[in-house]
């Protein structure tokens, strides 16, 4: 498998987090070209490349950038660029390595994005547990300022851009873009109803683009190599490479960059090193804890891209948090574990989410402990169906989808645990 390593190409280079080393690898070499382009040209290039947001929703990046109203319609308002480095979706850990290994690539991507968006102020919103990475980013930013790559009149282009790190303090929900904005503004990190979408009215009620770390880190490569080269990698609708964070029961968990569209079985065998000796596959969660679970049959049919996973398994590629579970896994226990997470992290604004997540968790605890009946499973299903799409933000659906999919796809495991059936029967 031959493909350019767009995101991880520098990770093995010692000290590439220092600007002098980063520059020997071509980082910041794309800036003169980008700063010479018209902002609309950059956005058009990103649109043509087909790059889709890597934070979870997979929304086309260039299209999102295009939603920012033009200067004459902004009434003098600023545009803000926020890098979402909250990385809190269980099973996801790629951004952490990208920022630690190659912070200058992200900074270069943000400078180019700022040019495209006519933006002069940006922040990297990083989760509080990553303060040590925030310090590395701060060092990298200081180096970039000293080299005239940030601040006023960057490389004589007339473009200015200030970029700072903003450190969160332990709240999963701040990864949701409107909550992230609230948090940055100095509020409690609670999501807001959309519309208005941040691109139109976001931070300080100004147009704001929120992009994931990985998304922004692709941009310099696009400038250098063009949209067609990017589209040549991956599939037609899912172009490019993607980082996958692999955890659970495989021989080589870790972060892998692969072209989108490779067969999932091949990915598990080749990149992840296969399952542990003597084990068989039971289930995969392909895109972070919030997406529907997949059965081994679905895994066999799917490839690693947005369309295949949704068409063949009714699930999502999401953030690329790939959790593998083998035949030793108790799936009732696994789902209970996930619902504890959602019950704990609900921000509490919407009744269906606040009450429903806690309620689903309690029912699951009873199912796990053999203390529930078939009616409880129906209630569980009903709760999940009534949370999905009835809340301010997508968190509600994120908690509902695991429940709906586990109950549908692995129904017998749950039936075996409730009273009147199998192991749960007294």
């Amino acid at each position: 498998m031959d493909f350019p390593r767009i995101l991880t190409g520098n990770w093995e280079v010692p000290d590439v987090h220092r600007i002098a080393v980063a520059r020997t690898r071509g980082t910041y070499s794309r800036l003169p070209k980008a700063l010479g382009m018209a902002p609309s040209e950059i956005t058009a290039l990103v649109k043509d490349s087909g790059l889709r947001g890597r934070g979870g929703a997979g929304f086309p990046t260039g299209v999102k950038w295009g939603f920012v109203p033009p200067a004459e319609k902004r009434g003098g308002k600023a545009v803000y660029l926020l890098c979402n480095a909250d990385e809190s979706e269980p099973g996801t850990f790629k951004d952490r390595y990208l920022m630690w290994c190659d912070p200058h690539l992200l900074i270069e991507g943000m400078i180019i994005a700022s040019r495209a968006l006519d933006c002069h102020l940006g922040y990297i919103y990083i989760r509080g547990e990553f303060r040590y990475i925030a310090r590395r980013l701060d060092e990298a930013l200081a180096e970039a300022y000293a080299a005239g790559l940030l601040g006023k009149n960057i490389q004589g282009s007339g473009h200015h851009f200030d970029l700072y790190v903003h450190v969160g303090a332990g709240a999963y929900i701040c990864g949701e873009e409107t909550a992230l904005i609230s948090s940055l503004e100095g509020e409690r990190g609670q999501p807001k109803l959309k519309p208005p979408f941040p691109a139109v009215e976001g931070a300080w009620r100004s147009p704001t683009i929120v992009n994931n770390v990985e998304t922004l880190a692709v941009v310099p490569w696009l400038i250098e190599n063009g949209a067609a080269a990017y589209k040549a990698i991956g599939t037609e609708k899912s172009p490019g490479t993607k980082l996958f964070s692999v955890s659970g029961h495989v021989r080589r968990p870790g972060v892998y960059e692969v072209p989108l569209g490779i067969p999932m079985t091949q990915f598990i065998e080749e990149q992840c090193g296969g399952l542990l000796p003597g084990r068989t596959l039971k289930a995969v969660i392909p895109g972070g804890s919030s997406v529907p679970v997949m059965t081994p049959d679905e895994v066999a049919k799917c490839s690693m891209d947005y369309e295949s996973i949704s068409q063949n398994a009714g699930s999502y590629l999401g953030s690329g948090g790939f959790i593998v579970m083998d035949d030793t896994t108790d799936l009732v226990e696994a789902l209970t574990n996930l619902l504890r997470f959602y019950a704990h992290e609900s921000c509490g604004q919407c009744t269906p989410c606040r009450e429903g997540c806690g309620w689903m968790y309690q029912i699951l605890c009873r199912v796990r402990d053999g203390d529930a009946n078939v009616q409880d499973l129906a209630t569980l299903r009903d709760l999940a169906d009534n949370i999905h799409s009835k809340t301010i933000c997508f968190f509600g659906a994120s908690a509902a989808m695991p429940v709906q999919s586990f109950l549908t796809k692995f129904r017998s495991e749950f039936l075996d645990r409730v009273q009147g059936r199998g192991a749960g029967a007294a």
Binding site: S88, E89, P90, G91, Y164, E187, R188, S247, V255
Partner: protein
């Protein structure tokens, strides 16, 4: 059984040092509004004074021209702003799915036994506070725990014992970083 918890008595009103005041000026320059400085200023205060008490919240409110109730609302929303002191080493162990799949519960039980923790996670020797937390984005090198800022990954009972012994013997925590600049973790 309950061991002595770190002392949460009021520490009295506070004022910023000259250095802190300079830092606040630098923070304010980074944001379009004063309110946005609240999280960085809370972090700065916690770094200096270990945890955030009501007097500190009042000081921040005065500094940023905010109602004290707002500072309280924000500080209480975010779990990493400590509203009470913890012991010197704050062990946050992840128990979310990826860690649970590879034995996080076994590690939790081992730590609880080794440290003779009470129901609040305080160790008998008064050196550690153990807390279960949700995913810390180290799922590939699970099970894992964060001790103060440092990530300890691929934990086994043996690794846990070594770390606890070293900390008890007064060894300083290493500089936090992802394990040895490595991002693939073969299982032996």
């Amino acid at each position: 059984m309950s061991h002595s918890a770190p002392n949460a008595v009021s520490r009295g009103p506070r004022e910023w040092s000259a250095e802190q005041n300079a830092e606040i000026v630098a923070i304010l320059a980074r944001y379009p509004t004063k309110k946005a400085a609240i999280m960085p200023v809370l972090w700065m205060a916690q770094d200096a004074w270990e945890w955030i008490d009501l007097d500190i919240m009042r000081l921040i409110a005065r500094t940023l021209d905010l109602p004290p109730s707002h500072v309280h609302a924000v500080a209480s929303f975010y779990t990493m702003f400590k509203k009470a002191p913890t012991h010197r080493y704050h062990i946050q162990i992840c128990h979310t799915l990826s860690c649970a799949l590879v034995g996080a519960e076994k590690i939790v039980a081992h730590i609880e036994r080794r440290l003779e923790c009470d129901e609040h996670g305080n160790s008998k020797d008064g050196l550690f506070t153990l807390l279960r937390v949700e995913c810390l984005a180290s799922c590939g090198s699970a099970p894992m725990a964060q001790i103060n800022e440092h990530f300890y990954e691929r934990l086994t009972p043996e690794v846990v014992d070594q770390v606890i012994d070293a900390l008890r013997a007064g060894t300083k925590l290493q500089e936090p970083r992802p394990e040895a600049d490595q991002w693939i973790f073969p299982v032996s």
